[in-house]
Protein backbone atom coordinates (compact mmCIF):
# COMPACT_ATOMS: atom_id res chain seq x y z
CA UNK A 1 0.00 0.00 0.00
CA UNK A 2 1.42 3.38 -0.92
CA UNK A 3 1.44 6.09 1.69
CA UNK A 4 2.40 9.39 0.05
CA UNK A 5 3.73 12.25 2.13
CA UNK A 6 3.70 15.58 0.30
CA UNK A 7 6.21 17.55 2.32
CA UNK A 8 4.58 20.65 3.73
CA UNK A 9 6.90 23.65 4.05
CA UNK A 10 4.55 26.41 2.88
CA UNK A 11 4.97 25.96 -0.87
CA UNK A 12 2.20 27.41 -3.02
CA UNK A 13 0.92 24.69 -5.33
CA UNK A 14 0.45 21.83 -2.87
CA UNK A 15 -3.25 21.44 -3.57
CA UNK A 16 -2.84 20.42 -7.22
CA UNK A 17 -0.15 17.90 -6.28
CA UNK A 18 -2.44 16.55 -3.57
CA UNK A 19 -5.34 16.24 -6.04
CA UNK A 20 -3.17 14.25 -8.44
CA UNK A 21 -1.85 11.76 -5.90
CA UNK A 22 -5.15 11.32 -4.10
CA UNK A 23 -6.70 10.16 -7.35
CA UNK A 24 -4.27 7.22 -7.55
CA UNK A 25 -2.84 6.46 -4.08
CA UNK A 26 -4.47 4.81 -1.07
CA UNK A 27 -3.21 7.30 1.44
CA UNK A 28 -1.95 10.86 0.86
CA UNK A 29 -1.02 13.49 3.44
CA UNK A 30 0.39 17.00 3.24
CA UNK A 31 2.58 17.09 6.29
CA UNK A 32 5.87 17.92 8.01
CA UNK A 33 4.97 15.77 11.03
CA UNK A 34 7.72 13.27 12.00
CA UNK A 35 5.08 10.59 12.73
CA UNK A 36 3.73 10.82 9.18
CA UNK A 37 7.24 10.92 7.72
CA UNK A 38 8.16 7.71 9.56
CA UNK A 39 5.09 5.92 8.18
CA UNK A 40 5.15 7.19 4.60
CA UNK A 41 6.38 4.98 1.75
CA UNK A 42 6.81 7.75 -0.87
CA UNK A 43 7.85 11.39 -0.56
CA UNK A 44 6.99 14.30 -2.81
CA UNK A 45 8.61 17.73 -2.53
CA UNK A 46 6.60 20.33 -4.49
CA UNK A 47 7.85 23.85 -5.12
CA UNK A 48 7.16 27.14 -6.81
CA UNK A 49 8.89 30.49 -6.56
CA UNK A 50 12.53 31.26 -5.92
CA UNK A 51 15.23 28.72 -4.96
CA UNK A 52 16.49 30.62 -1.90
CA UNK A 53 13.01 31.25 -0.48
CA UNK A 54 12.17 27.55 -0.88
CA UNK A 55 15.44 26.45 0.80
CA UNK A 56 14.89 28.80 3.72
CA UNK A 57 11.39 27.44 4.36
CA UNK A 58 12.52 23.82 3.88
CA UNK A 59 15.22 24.24 6.54
CA UNK A 60 12.81 26.06 8.87
CA UNK A 61 9.83 23.77 8.60
CA UNK A 62 10.95 20.24 7.67
CA UNK A 63 12.65 17.82 10.11
CA UNK A 64 15.79 17.52 7.99
CA UNK A 65 17.60 14.86 10.04
CA UNK A 66 14.64 12.53 9.85
CA UNK A 67 14.07 13.27 6.17
CA UNK A 68 17.71 12.54 5.36
CA UNK A 69 17.43 9.28 7.26
CA UNK A 70 14.36 8.04 5.34
CA UNK A 71 15.59 9.25 1.95
CA UNK A 72 19.37 8.79 2.09
CA UNK A 73 19.63 5.79 4.44
CA UNK A 74 16.31 3.92 4.11
CA UNK A 75 16.16 4.89 0.42
CA UNK A 76 12.41 5.50 0.24
CA UNK A 77 11.32 6.82 -3.21
CA UNK A 78 11.49 10.62 -3.35
CA UNK A 79 10.19 12.93 -6.09
CA UNK A 80 11.04 16.64 -6.30
CA UNK A 81 8.83 18.76 -8.58
CA UNK A 82 9.99 22.04 -10.21
CA UNK A 83 11.75 24.04 -7.48
CA UNK A 84 11.38 20.87 -5.37
CA UNK A 85 13.70 19.25 -7.93
CA UNK A 86 16.06 22.22 -8.15
CA UNK A 87 16.79 22.24 -4.40
CA UNK A 88 18.29 18.74 -4.75
CA UNK A 89 21.31 20.53 -6.26
CA UNK A 90 24.49 21.66 -4.54
CA UNK A 91 23.58 25.30 -5.02
CA UNK A 92 21.17 27.67 -6.75
CA UNK A 93 22.02 30.97 -8.43
CA UNK A 94 18.63 32.74 -8.32
CA UNK A 95 18.87 36.03 -6.36
CA UNK A 96 22.49 35.27 -5.37
CA UNK A 97 24.17 31.98 -4.57
CA UNK A 98 22.31 29.75 -2.13
CA UNK A 99 23.20 26.24 -0.91
CA UNK A 100 20.72 23.47 -1.80
CA UNK A 101 20.19 20.05 -0.23
CA UNK A 102 23.16 18.69 -2.18
CA UNK A 103 21.58 15.27 -2.76
CA UNK A 104 22.45 15.26 -6.48
CA UNK A 105 25.56 17.27 -7.39
CA UNK A 106 25.00 20.25 -9.66
CA UNK A 107 24.09 23.93 -9.88
CA UNK A 108 20.82 25.59 -10.79
CA UNK A 109 21.32 28.42 -13.27
CA UNK A 110 19.21 30.60 -15.53
CA UNK A 111 18.23 28.95 -18.82
CA UNK A 112 20.16 30.15 -21.83
CA UNK A 113 16.99 30.57 -23.89
CA UNK A 114 18.74 32.57 -26.65
CA UNK A 115 16.03 34.89 -27.99
CA UNK A 116 13.09 33.06 -26.42
CA UNK A 117 11.21 34.75 -23.58
CA UNK A 118 11.55 33.61 -19.96
CA UNK A 119 9.95 32.11 -17.98
CA UNK A 120 9.65 29.03 -20.16
CA UNK A 121 5.90 28.43 -19.87
CA UNK A 122 3.90 25.80 -21.68
CA UNK A 123 3.87 22.25 -23.00
CA UNK A 124 7.18 20.88 -24.19
CA UNK A 125 8.71 17.50 -25.02
CA UNK A 126 10.64 15.49 -22.48
CA UNK A 127 13.23 13.17 -24.07
CA UNK A 128 14.35 10.26 -21.93
CA UNK A 129 18.14 9.79 -21.83
CA UNK A 130 18.08 6.37 -20.22
CA UNK A 131 15.59 3.64 -19.39
CA UNK A 132 13.85 4.47 -16.18
CA UNK A 133 10.79 3.08 -14.44
CA UNK A 134 9.68 6.70 -13.86
CA UNK A 135 9.36 7.41 -17.58
CA UNK A 136 8.05 4.04 -18.67
CA UNK A 137 4.91 3.80 -20.84
CA UNK A 138 4.86 7.49 -21.74
CA UNK A 139 5.55 7.09 -25.44
CA UNK A 140 8.26 8.95 -27.33
CA UNK A 141 9.16 12.43 -26.11
CA UNK A 142 5.91 13.00 -24.17
CA UNK A 143 4.63 16.53 -23.56
CA UNK A 144 4.68 17.94 -20.04
CA UNK A 145 3.74 21.35 -18.70
CA UNK A 146 6.61 23.66 -17.64
CA UNK A 147 6.82 26.97 -15.75
CA UNK A 148 10.38 28.02 -14.85
CA UNK A 149 13.33 30.24 -15.70
CA UNK A 150 16.15 28.23 -14.11
CA UNK A 151 17.48 24.76 -14.88
CA UNK A 152 19.63 22.07 -13.27
CA UNK A 153 23.22 21.75 -14.51
CA UNK A 154 24.34 18.31 -13.36
CA UNK A 155 27.91 17.57 -12.41
CA UNK A 156 27.62 13.91 -13.42
CA UNK A 157 25.84 12.92 -16.61
CA UNK A 158 24.96 9.58 -15.05
CA UNK A 159 22.25 11.38 -13.07
CA UNK A 160 20.62 12.76 -16.23
CA UNK A 161 17.21 11.18 -16.84
CA UNK A 162 15.69 13.46 -19.49
CA UNK A 163 16.26 16.67 -21.43
CA UNK A 164 14.05 19.35 -22.96
CA UNK A 165 14.85 22.01 -25.55
CA UNK A 166 14.13 25.68 -25.06
CA UNK A 167 16.89 27.76 -26.59
CA UNK A 168 19.30 25.21 -25.11
CA UNK A 169 18.96 21.55 -24.15
CA UNK A 170 18.39 21.59 -20.44
CA UNK A 171 18.01 18.83 -17.88
CA UNK A 172 14.29 18.21 -17.27
CA UNK A 173 14.54 15.09 -15.08
CA UNK A 174 17.24 13.80 -12.71
CA UNK A 175 17.79 10.62 -10.73
CA UNK A 176 20.26 9.26 -8.21
CA UNK A 177 19.20 5.89 -6.82
CA UNK A 178 15.81 6.41 -5.11
CA UNK A 179 15.88 10.20 -5.54
CA UNK A 180 14.01 11.59 -8.57
CA UNK A 181 13.39 15.14 -9.69
CA UNK A 182 11.34 16.60 -12.54
CA UNK A 183 11.45 20.20 -13.72
CA UNK A 184 7.95 20.01 -15.22
CA UNK A 185 4.61 19.73 -13.42
CA UNK A 186 3.05 16.24 -13.53
CA UNK A 187 0.07 17.65 -11.60
CA UNK A 188 -0.67 19.96 -14.57
CA UNK A 189 0.13 17.46 -17.32
CA UNK A 190 -3.12 15.51 -17.58
CA UNK A 191 -2.82 11.82 -18.53
CA UNK A 192 0.93 12.02 -19.03
CA UNK A 193 1.32 13.41 -15.52
CA UNK A 194 -1.00 10.81 -14.00
CA UNK A 195 1.02 8.03 -15.64
CA UNK A 196 4.30 9.45 -14.33
CA UNK A 197 2.82 9.69 -10.83
CA UNK A 198 1.65 6.06 -11.10
CA UNK A 199 5.14 5.06 -12.20
CA UNK A 200 6.55 6.82 -9.15
CA UNK A 201 4.16 5.00 -6.82
CA UNK A 202 5.20 1.69 -8.37
CA UNK A 203 8.80 2.29 -7.20
CA UNK A 204 9.74 0.45 -4.02
Amino acid sequence: MSYVCILDYGSGNVKSVYNLFSSIAEHVVISNDPTEIRQATHFVLPGVGAFSAAMRKIRERLPMDLLEKVVLNDKKPFLGICVGMQVLATRGMEFGECPGLGWIEGNVEIINSKQLPLPHIGWNNVSGKKDSPLLTGLGNDPDFYFVHSYAYHLKNDQHLLATTTYGENFCSAVQRENIYGVQFHPEKSQRTGIRLAKNFLALL
Binding site: G12, N13, K15, S16, N19, L20, V48, G49, L116, P117, P119, H120, I121, G122, W123, N124, N125, G137, L138, G139, P142, D143, Y145, V147, T165, Y166, E187, K188, S189, Q190, R191, T192, G193, I194, R195, K198
Partner: protein
Protein backbone atom coordinates in the same frame (compact mmCIF):
# COMPACT_ATOMS: atom_id res chain seq x y z
CA UNK B 1 9.75 21.87 -28.95
CA UNK B 2 7.37 24.12 -27.12
CA UNK B 3 3.82 23.80 -28.42
CA UNK B 4 1.22 26.34 -29.45
CA UNK B 5 -1.73 26.10 -27.08
CA UNK B 6 -5.46 25.64 -27.61
CA UNK B 7 -7.47 27.08 -24.74
CA UNK B 8 -11.20 26.84 -24.06
CA UNK B 9 -12.60 29.87 -22.23
CA UNK B 10 -15.52 29.34 -19.90
CA UNK B 11 -17.64 32.42 -19.28
CA UNK B 12 -19.49 32.50 -16.00
CA UNK B 13 -22.38 34.73 -15.20
CA UNK B 14 -23.98 34.48 -11.77
CA UNK B 15 -22.65 30.94 -11.47
CA UNK B 16 -23.89 29.72 -14.85
CA UNK B 17 -21.84 28.86 -17.90
CA UNK B 18 -22.94 31.26 -20.65
CA UNK B 19 -22.38 32.06 -24.29
CA UNK B 20 -21.66 35.67 -25.21
CA UNK B 21 -22.24 37.80 -28.28
CA UNK B 22 -20.43 41.13 -28.53
CA UNK B 23 -20.36 41.40 -24.73
CA UNK B 24 -24.05 42.28 -24.66
CA UNK B 25 -26.17 39.19 -25.24
CA UNK B 26 -25.84 36.07 -23.15
CA UNK B 27 -27.27 32.60 -23.42
CA UNK B 28 -27.27 30.09 -20.60
CA UNK B 29 -25.35 26.86 -21.30
CA UNK B 30 -25.83 25.24 -17.89
CA UNK B 31 -23.60 23.91 -15.15
CA UNK B 32 -19.99 25.12 -15.39
CA UNK B 33 -18.38 22.09 -13.78
CA UNK B 34 -19.82 19.17 -15.72
CA UNK B 35 -18.10 20.28 -18.92
CA UNK B 36 -14.63 20.49 -17.42
CA UNK B 37 -13.79 16.84 -17.09
CA UNK B 38 -14.56 16.34 -20.76
CA UNK B 39 -12.45 19.33 -21.74
CA UNK B 40 -9.57 17.86 -19.74
CA UNK B 41 -9.94 14.43 -21.29
CA UNK B 42 -9.93 15.95 -24.76
CA UNK B 43 -6.51 17.48 -24.04
CA UNK B 44 -7.25 21.14 -23.71
CA UNK B 45 -3.87 22.72 -22.98
CA UNK B 46 -5.26 25.07 -20.34
CA UNK B 47 -8.57 26.46 -19.19
CA UNK B 48 -9.55 30.07 -18.66
CA UNK B 49 -12.50 30.90 -16.42
CA UNK B 50 -13.81 34.44 -16.69
CA UNK B 51 -16.44 35.51 -14.20
CA UNK B 52 -18.44 38.18 -16.02
CA UNK B 53 -21.21 38.40 -13.43
CA UNK B 54 -22.50 41.89 -13.15
CA UNK B 55 -24.39 42.72 -10.00
CA UNK B 56 -26.31 45.66 -11.38
CA UNK B 57 -27.48 44.07 -14.61
CA UNK B 58 -30.65 42.10 -15.09
CA UNK B 59 -31.59 40.28 -18.24
CA UNK B 60 -35.37 40.54 -18.50
CA UNK B 61 -35.70 37.94 -21.19
CA UNK B 62 -33.78 35.26 -19.33
CA UNK B 63 -34.79 35.18 -15.70
CA UNK B 64 -32.52 32.22 -14.97
CA UNK B 65 -29.44 34.34 -15.63
CA UNK B 66 -30.34 36.67 -12.81
CA UNK B 67 -30.72 33.91 -10.25
CA UNK B 68 -27.38 33.01 -8.77
CA UNK B 69 -26.49 29.37 -9.20
CA UNK B 70 -25.26 27.65 -6.05
CA UNK B 71 -21.73 27.69 -7.47
CA UNK B 72 -19.59 30.63 -6.44
CA UNK B 73 -16.40 31.24 -8.39
CA UNK B 74 -14.48 29.80 -5.44
CA UNK B 75 -16.45 26.54 -5.39
CA UNK B 76 -15.99 26.30 -9.12
CA UNK B 77 -12.19 26.72 -8.94
CA UNK B 78 -11.96 24.15 -6.18
CA UNK B 79 -14.11 21.58 -7.99
CA UNK B 80 -12.40 22.16 -11.30
CA UNK B 81 -8.93 21.68 -9.80
CA UNK B 82 -9.98 18.22 -8.63
CA UNK B 83 -10.85 16.95 -12.10
CA UNK B 84 -8.74 19.01 -14.49
CA UNK B 85 -5.02 18.33 -14.23
CA UNK B 86 -4.01 21.32 -16.31
CA UNK B 87 -3.17 24.99 -15.83
CA UNK B 88 -6.19 27.08 -14.87
CA UNK B 89 -6.49 30.86 -15.26
CA UNK B 90 -9.24 32.69 -13.40
CA UNK B 91 -10.40 36.23 -14.14
CA UNK B 92 -13.10 38.62 -13.05
CA UNK B 93 -13.68 40.76 -9.98
CA UNK B 94 -10.04 40.81 -8.88
CA UNK B 95 -9.30 44.05 -7.01
CA UNK B 96 -6.43 43.30 -4.62
CA UNK B 97 -3.65 40.87 -3.69
CA UNK B 98 -5.96 38.91 -1.37
CA UNK B 99 -8.32 38.25 -4.27
CA UNK B 100 -5.39 36.75 -6.20
CA UNK B 101 -4.08 34.75 -3.27
CA UNK B 102 -7.50 33.22 -2.61
CA UNK B 103 -7.88 32.06 -6.20
CA UNK B 104 -4.38 30.57 -6.26
CA UNK B 105 -4.86 28.78 -2.95
CA UNK B 106 -7.97 27.04 -4.31
CA UNK B 107 -6.09 25.62 -7.29
CA UNK B 108 -5.84 28.37 -9.92
CA UNK B 109 -2.40 28.77 -11.50
CA UNK B 110 -2.83 32.25 -12.98
CA UNK B 111 -5.20 35.16 -12.71
CA UNK B 112 -6.45 37.45 -15.47
CA UNK B 113 -6.69 41.17 -14.69
CA UNK B 114 -8.56 43.62 -16.86
CA UNK B 115 -10.33 46.67 -15.38
CA UNK B 116 -8.12 46.69 -12.27
CA UNK B 117 -4.99 47.00 -14.42
CA UNK B 118 -6.49 50.00 -16.20
CA UNK B 119 -7.67 51.65 -12.97
CA UNK B 120 -4.31 51.12 -11.27
CA UNK B 121 -1.47 50.05 -13.61
CA UNK B 122 0.91 49.90 -10.63
CA UNK B 123 -1.12 46.97 -9.33
CA UNK B 124 0.17 44.86 -12.24
CA UNK B 125 3.72 45.41 -11.01
CA UNK B 126 2.81 44.75 -7.38
CA UNK B 127 1.00 41.53 -8.30
CA UNK B 128 3.83 40.33 -10.59
CA UNK B 129 6.40 40.93 -7.84
CA UNK B 130 4.28 39.12 -5.26
CA UNK B 131 3.23 36.07 -7.30
CA UNK B 132 5.62 36.05 -10.28
CA UNK B 133 5.04 37.24 -13.85
CA UNK B 134 4.04 33.73 -14.95
CA UNK B 135 0.96 34.15 -12.78
CA UNK B 136 -0.33 37.46 -14.14
CA UNK B 137 -2.34 37.48 -17.37
CA UNK B 138 -3.65 40.82 -18.61
CA UNK B 139 -6.93 40.55 -20.43
CA UNK B 140 -7.36 43.26 -23.06
CA UNK B 141 -10.77 43.91 -24.63
CA UNK B 142 -10.61 45.90 -27.87
CA UNK B 143 -13.37 47.72 -29.73
CA UNK B 144 -13.51 49.78 -32.88
CA UNK B 145 -14.45 53.43 -32.27
CA UNK B 146 -14.86 55.22 -35.57
CA UNK B 147 -11.67 54.49 -37.50
CA UNK B 148 -9.48 53.27 -34.63
CA UNK B 149 -9.43 50.47 -32.09
CA UNK B 150 -9.26 51.23 -28.39
CA UNK B 151 -8.95 49.25 -25.18
CA UNK B 152 -12.21 49.01 -23.24
CA UNK B 153 -12.65 48.58 -19.49
CA UNK B 154 -15.53 47.33 -17.30
CA UNK B 155 -16.57 44.44 -19.51
CA UNK B 156 -16.53 46.52 -22.68
CA UNK B 157 -18.59 49.37 -21.24
CA UNK B 158 -15.93 52.02 -20.67
CA UNK B 159 -13.73 53.50 -23.36
CA UNK B 160 -10.07 54.15 -22.49
CA UNK B 161 -7.50 56.26 -24.33
CA UNK B 162 -5.16 53.32 -24.94
CA UNK B 163 -4.40 51.85 -28.35
CA UNK B 164 -4.18 48.05 -27.91
CA UNK B 165 -0.47 47.75 -28.78
CA UNK B 166 0.49 50.62 -26.46
CA UNK B 167 -1.41 49.16 -23.55
CA UNK B 168 0.14 45.74 -24.23
CA UNK B 169 3.64 47.26 -24.12
CA UNK B 170 2.83 49.09 -20.90
CA UNK B 171 1.63 45.98 -19.06
CA UNK B 172 4.60 43.97 -20.35
CA UNK B 173 6.95 46.54 -18.82
CA UNK B 174 5.00 46.36 -15.57
CA UNK B 175 5.66 42.62 -15.38
CA UNK B 176 2.65 40.92 -16.98
CA UNK B 177 3.40 37.36 -18.06
CA UNK B 178 0.83 36.96 -20.83
CA UNK B 179 -1.82 38.89 -22.73
CA UNK B 180 -5.31 37.62 -23.47
CA UNK B 181 -6.38 39.72 -26.44
CA UNK B 182 -10.08 39.83 -27.21
CA UNK B 183 -11.93 41.65 -29.96
CA UNK B 184 -15.37 42.72 -28.78
CA UNK B 185 -16.45 43.34 -32.37
CA UNK B 186 -15.66 39.71 -33.27
CA UNK B 187 -17.04 38.17 -30.06
CA UNK B 188 -19.69 35.58 -30.96
CA UNK B 189 -19.67 36.56 -34.65
CA UNK B 190 -18.01 33.34 -35.93
CA UNK B 191 -16.16 35.19 -38.72
CA UNK B 192 -12.63 34.53 -37.47
CA UNK B 193 -10.03 36.37 -35.41
CA UNK B 194 -9.05 39.97 -36.07
CA UNK B 195 -5.72 38.98 -37.66
CA UNK B 196 -4.55 42.56 -38.11
CA UNK B 197 -5.11 43.31 -34.41
CA UNK B 198 -3.25 40.13 -33.37
CA UNK B 199 -0.28 41.13 -35.52
CA UNK B 200 -0.17 44.67 -34.20
CA UNK B 201 0.01 43.42 -30.62
CA UNK B 202 2.34 40.43 -31.12
CA UNK B 203 4.74 42.70 -33.03
CA UNK B 204 4.85 45.05 -30.03
CA UNK B 205 5.60 42.63 -27.16
CA UNK B 206 7.77 39.59 -26.38
CA UNK B 207 5.42 38.00 -23.86
CA UNK B 208 2.95 35.38 -25.13
CA UNK B 209 -0.31 36.61 -26.63
CA UNK B 210 -3.48 34.50 -26.48
CA UNK B 211 -5.90 35.22 -29.32
CA UNK B 212 -9.59 35.44 -28.55
CA UNK B 213 -12.83 36.45 -30.22
CA UNK B 214 -14.54 35.33 -33.40
CA UNK B 215 -13.79 31.64 -33.93
CA UNK B 216 -16.59 29.93 -35.86
CA UNK B 217 -14.64 27.11 -37.52
CA UNK B 218 -11.46 25.14 -36.76
CA UNK B 219 -9.68 26.83 -39.66
CA UNK B 220 -9.87 30.14 -37.79
CA UNK B 221 -7.49 28.68 -35.17
CA UNK B 222 -5.12 27.62 -37.93
CA UNK B 223 -5.31 31.03 -39.57
CA UNK B 224 -4.15 32.80 -36.40
CA UNK B 225 -1.35 30.29 -35.77
CA UNK B 226 -0.26 30.57 -39.41
CA UNK B 227 -0.42 34.30 -39.95
CA UNK B 228 0.40 35.81 -36.55
CA UNK B 229 2.90 35.42 -33.74
CA UNK B 230 0.34 34.35 -31.11
CA UNK B 231 1.41 31.68 -28.63
CA UNK B 232 -2.10 30.38 -28.03
CA UNK B 233 -5.55 30.40 -29.58
CA UNK B 234 -8.60 30.60 -27.36
CA UNK B 235 -12.33 30.48 -27.87
CA UNK B 236 -15.45 30.03 -25.80
CA UNK B 237 -18.65 29.36 -27.69
CA UNK B 238 -17.36 26.88 -30.28
CA UNK B 239 -16.16 24.34 -27.68
CA UNK B 240 -19.48 23.88 -25.95
CA UNK B 241 -21.66 22.62 -28.74
CA UNK B 242 -19.95 19.60 -30.20
CA UNK B 243 -18.81 16.34 -28.66
CA UNK B 244 -15.01 15.96 -28.47
CA UNK B 245 -14.64 19.55 -29.67
CA UNK B 246 -11.11 20.12 -28.37
CA UNK B 247 -9.91 16.77 -29.62
CA UNK B 248 -11.29 17.43 -33.10
CA UNK B 249 -9.79 20.93 -33.18
CA UNK B 250 -6.39 19.52 -32.16
CA UNK B 251 -6.62 16.81 -34.77
CA UNK B 252 -7.40 19.40 -37.43
CA UNK B 253 -4.51 21.67 -36.41
CA UNK B 254 -2.10 18.76 -36.32
CA UNK B 255 -3.18 17.68 -39.81
CA UNK B 256 -2.46 21.22 -40.98
CA UNK B 257 1.10 20.70 -39.80
CA UNK B 258 0.81 23.10 -36.87
CA UNK B 259 2.89 22.62 -33.75
CA UNK B 260 0.27 21.52 -31.21
CA UNK B 261 0.16 18.93 -28.47
CA UNK B 262 -1.96 15.93 -29.37
CA UNK B 263 -4.21 14.11 -26.94
CA UNK B 264 -2.22 11.35 -25.28
CA UNK B 265 -3.54 8.01 -26.39
CA UNK B 266 -1.57 5.59 -24.22
CA UNK B 267 -3.20 3.56 -21.46
CA UNK B 268 -2.93 4.86 -17.92
Amino acid sequence: MKKKRLIPILLLRNGWLVQSKQFSRYQNLGNPISSVKRLSEWASDELIYLDISNGDSYDMRRDDLAHPNRHSIFEIIEDVAKVAYMPITVGGHIRNLQDIEKRLSLGADKVALNTMAIDDPQFVETAAKEFGSQCIVISIDVKLQGESQFVMARGGKQLTAYAPEDWAKTVEQLGAGEILLNSIDRDGMKNGYDIELLNRVTDSVRIPVIACGGVGEWRHFAEALDKTGVDAVAAANIFHYSDQSVFLAKKYLSEQGLNVRLPSLFEI
